[in-house]
Symmetry: none
Subunit: 171 residues, 4 copies
Amino acid sequence: MNTALKLFAEEGYYITSIDKIAKAANISKGLIYNYFQNKEDLLSEIFHFGLDEIFKSFDQNHDGILTKDEFILFIENSLDKLENSRDFWKLYFILIMKPMIYKMFEKSLNEYLSPIMQMLENYFTNQGSENPEAEAKLIGAILDGVGMHYILNPENFKIKEVKEIIIKKYI
Amino acid sequence: MNTALKLFAEEGYYITSIDKIAKAANISKGLIYNYFQNKEDLLSEIFHFGLDEIFKSFDQNHDGILTKDEFILFIENSLDKLENSRDFWKLYFILIMKPMIYKMFEKSLNEYLSPIMQMLENYFTNQGSENPEAEAKLIGAILDGVGMHYILNPENFKIKEVKEIIIKKYI
Amino acid sequence: MNTALKLFAEEGYYITSIDKIAKAANISKGLIYNYFQNKEDLLSEIFHFGLDEIFKSFDQNHDGILTKDEFILFIENSLDKLENSRDFWKLYFILIMKPMIYKMFEKSLNEYLSPIMQMLENYFTNQGSENPEAEAKLIGAILDGVGMHYILNPENFKIKEVKEIIIKKYI
Amino acid sequence: MNTALKLFAEEGYYITSIDKIAKAANISKGLIYNYFQNKEDLLSEIFHFGLDEIFKSFDQNHDGILTKDEFILFIENSLDKLENSRDFWKLYFILIMKPMIYKMFEKSLNEYLSPIMQMLENYFTNQGSENPEAEAKLIGAILDGVGMHYILNPENFKIKEVKEIIIKKYI
DNA sequence: CATGAATGAGCTTTCATTCAT
DNA sequence: GATGAATGAAAGCTCATTCAT
């Protein structure tokens, strides 16, 4: 799964053949099919495993209500996560854009994301925002946009400085 | 090219066969190869044509120096462009994440983007920003993030309201 | 289709690879898939084509009512058919025994066979037989049994003499 | 062996994987290879075991000369055997049609069948038949044809009534 | 006696590409 | 200009078989 994640992330899902994965992992093609029903299933397992890893760290100590400090922390955490598991995020941004593949993950993705979006919306409501829903969606889009640019080019995209600017805008 | 753009955008590049394109366009497979060297070349032509279409509307009347009003207008224009040519943007977000394919377009993309990024950086310098480069990169990331979310789900992502919020943050 | 029929009949359906067929027919593997959706479809086309060929010669000049002479002629015709298109019959006896495959052809086979069985039953009814249905089924079984033995070993199974004996039993 | 017989008979030899057999029998794949050299050997053992079971009941009290009553009894016995061990007979009719596989069993099959065929031929000679060899072959073909039809569709093929008709024709 | 992880040859199928017409 | 029959490399996948445990 690690080898496959790396290859899927670096070269893409369709371009990466089962044979390539097997060779890179020093195992036989057949063995992959002892553990995964097919190529799509392998992708699915990798992606769901990654999602669990990422989002389980969000669940802690939240009653679903954010203070301002917690909101700032949320943004910081979200961006910090990018630095670990870059491969997962690369795969995430590849997959999210493919409608056919996206369908496979839409449901589980929403299970993770919708409570977070709701939490953000509540936060903006409490802050007296005029349009909390749009504010929440903007946050989501900004985090994805920054994530995407950072993942694409980690050396040149000074994420720490960008993070600070974002936070300044929300204090 | 239109048919291929639509299919590439909706289903993905690898999943779309030349045969499918030909059938959808009511022409023969062979005819495609009279006009394009190969599948990659077809993709390249489509993408470059799209890039030209999009970015030629930016070039107008700019000496490379933005006033505050022009900066606001730039953001508005950038987001308004999404509403036309959704197919192109879908393809754009698909391709941008694939390193192997991205290489094909990196150069021409940079030719369009780097003057814009420079212009933004200059703007933030003139505004007395502490970190103009990071500010410019943030703008780029926000526009891509919002674009991606809008393209993925145009009905639910209220782009007009999001646009207003962004602008408010920059006035 | 001819090459495939011969191979399917001689070696069996599963044992005959598409590659073998292509090589024996001096064409490429890919070409087969221009004309047939998959291996099963190839088999299906071959079998239905063969069925049509065989049974169209039965339809002539019958109002569905057999005289004794016509009944005798029917038996003779049925057995004479074996001598042409032996490959088809070999395939027929292979397929008829495979439940999974048989399902594919059951419907079209019944379309051909059930009027014939009905005709035979009527004949035996008119002859004053005690159990016309069983008589008809016996005829069917005898023709298949003789067909099978002849096809399996045409040199040793003296079909002409067997045919005469059968007819004698029914005069 | 019982599990494998059932699966081979119901689905076919090639379509039935060793893994399927092992799972259906609640044992491991490896265990099968402790008792049988390979898949073909498993088939061979099953088939020979079945042949022995079937034909050992024929050998009794026969000096090789049939009276008329014994001949009638032989037909009755042959058809009664179908009702037990349907799975074996299904396998028998599948295998008998595959030349490649048939080769494996031809010799042992002939060991059982040729004395029977000889016995039948002698019977018809003693009856003053014009063509005893063809008569014997016809009996063989009829028994196989009836067997095949019965095995294919035991519910609809009224074997008792068919049996009576056959016997009536030979009294 | 029993397991099942592991292998790899070989299968069906797809598809970009060519080329005679 | 335009076709589509034909190719063949390469993909995903299956499965008989082995073997360390």
